[in-house]
Symmetry: D3
């Protein structure tokens, strides 16, 4: 423990993934969990498959790109 | 809140996705949650990866297609 | 299929749960899935355990109650 | 019930999936649940998207392959 | 890896939990994963919070108890 | 987006929750996501319900406490 499932839009860069994995693990280590026990799983989800306020993010947030 | 994760078979059409996102959001708005606060995340899963009663849906439910 | 995991704040009323379960199932039946195949799982989460914009919902959204 | 979400590395073979689905279902049947009520959903996750101890599994566990 | 999230009805006995954890781990070890790498997380869900075919399991499956 | 589900052992302190929520949100803001768009959901799981290497954490890791 802990296990962290992260859901982001498809297109999240490899650089961003590395930062997310390293940063979340460092954070839990600071909180008092051994870094080796931290598992982070990133799930990329198409903007077509992500609804916000009743619309697909691919429509509603058309111009926003994942980092 | 709320966050809704929807797991369906791969092949779920874009039309069906739009209806699911709009319909779930409308439902929660009727229940009393602001529509803007509703996030719906659709996860498409291959029928090979979905087991029912001990068998892959790709075998057991071979002739059924997602809408 | 489908399986729907719904995450709401603790305190979501039994009436709201019934409406969510019935409404989501009816929606998928209209989309073309047999109602009997729809499973909806509701997870109540304390506002202390739900972070929005970096703060616990119990602080940031102190005055908002679930329906 | 029950619903079982299994997260494995991408590349998990079809043979392994069949065994996981059949084996988990058999296990719950032995525990006392009707086999027909068991749903198993397998999610394949890239090793780039799976962090262990702060690093991507694609780096840290480069030489390990899923079965 | 793997990580397995198991959703069952509240009331699942401690004996059943032990069997589920031991049995799933043994299964993945047979498939070719080191037992030490298997994490199983059991989530107990009230029958009020579990919908089947549009109704709460607490209503529709009133007489069925978890093992 | 993003949505982050964090699974920890029951007993995770309120101080640790605040740090996890603030820290994960700050991290994604640094990666390039607006802080307001980050939702973090913490799920506390009993050590009886968490299996590691085939045993309940309540047995196998009896002396370890969550932070």
């Amino acid at each position: 423990m802990p296990i962290i499932h992260v859901y982001v839009w498809k297109g999240f860069s490899n650089e961003a993934k590395k930062k997310a994995i390293a940063g979340i693990t460092k954070l839990f280590a600071e909180i008092g969990v051994p870094a080796e026990a931290v598992e982070v799983i990133i799930h990329e989800v198409s903007k077509e498959d992500w609804g916000v306020g009743g619309e697909q993010a691919s429509e509603k947030l058309k111009h926003i790109k994942p980092p």
